[in-house]
Symmetry: C2
DNA sequence: CTACTATTAGTACCAGGTAATAATGGTAGT
DNA sequence: ACTACCATTATTACCTGGTACTAATAGTAG
């Protein structure tokens, strides 16, 4: 016996997790057992076959993270009163954080706040022109950040000031003042 | 003949592009031709088989997006003098921008600048505590943003001030002042 | 010595293909 | 009308990476 069964199985799971593209055959030579043993192991661990694993990875990609890119709003908007106030929630995932210490990168919190501020403005076009932010406490992976934004003023010159405060529980982790430019200033159509 | 060959082939390509998970069999019934015809078409169009397509989508996912999340630095670092200055370049892609007007979202520029500022600090741990930013010109899809960061002061209290200016060509599009907290302040080891 | 477990072997079968060869059907050129 | 050519279809052998099932073997504990 090369290695106890249990140990092999947990290692197997681990191996497949971080390289879903490995075949049973490769696993067999790797653990120095027969293919059948690998297959029995997979059965017991309920690990699907190679193609299913690949398919899974592929489909995940489609409706996946894109976290900071494609989504209009970073985080889940849970409340929105146009031109008044809005709230979004963002759960901090490992990819949002530094791997060394699992602390969320600053621009993640900024992105949540900024996209919320933009969404708040009910206009054709809204662009951030200025921002003044403070990161008051570090946020860790697994925590849920609730961002609350409200418009503090609609200026005559087509700009609006928006305040955003983000919380984990009742602790404030982020404060931001955003100045947003809006294109169609109500009067145009 | 149901539909001319050429027309079918371009439609085939289109179909597969937006649904790579379709089998030859499904395509055959869909276009009302035999499986062999579909395969000849794929050959001519150099479209790989289902499993290869799925695998492609899956592997793309792994080194793809991540862009704004997993990477340590958003953009490509092209110069780095630790504790002194750094430069990175980021090409604005469609997913970085609002779909309506192809203008880059503010937090994308912020992310580039912020991650550059953090990378600049040669310490175990560096965290942004404060930022003051201005978006001086809107940036469009296709433009390449060059961010230049330099340390303006290393304070006694374990904080550093970093200035970042981003350019498209010779036009300044972003100005930012970051205050970054560093953990091990030189003296420790 | 037996019971049990882990492992291995072997067979039949499946999806979704590749590769190659051949047959059919229509259409255009001369 | 006959031939040449193209598109289409059919057929067969084979491939990978499996599932599902049955059976044999080896080692260990009671």
């Amino acid at each position: 016996m090369r290695v106890p069964k249990k140990e092999r199985q947990t290692e197997l799971q681990h191996t497949i997790e971080q390289n879903p593209f490995i075949t049973d055959e490769a696993l067999a030579t790797r653990f120095n057992v027969s293919i059948q043993t690998i297959r029995l192991d997979r059965m017991e661990m309920k690990i699907p076959e190679l193609r299913e694993r690949i398919k899974h990875v592929a489909t995940e990609r489609l409706d996946d993270v894109r976290t900071l890119t494609e989504n209009e709003v970073i985080g889940d908007m849970i409340d929105l009163k146009l031109d008044t106030s809005a709230i979004s929630i963002l759960e901090i995932l490992p990819e949002h954080a530094f791997s060394r210490n699992a602390i969320a990168r600053g621009h993640i919190l900024f992105a949540q706040a900024n996209s919320l501020a933009i969404a708040l403005i009910d206009d054709e076009l809204a662009l951030t022109t200025k921002a003044n932010v403070q990161f008051t406490r570090s946020v860790h992976v697994g925590e849920r950040v609730v961002a609350k934004a409200f418009v503090s003023s609609h200026r005559q010159d087509g700009r609006s000031d928006i305040s955003v405060e983000s919380f984990v529980g009742d602790e404030c982790v982020f404060i931001g003042e955003f100045t947003v430019y809006r294109s169609s200033k109500e009067e145009s159509r």
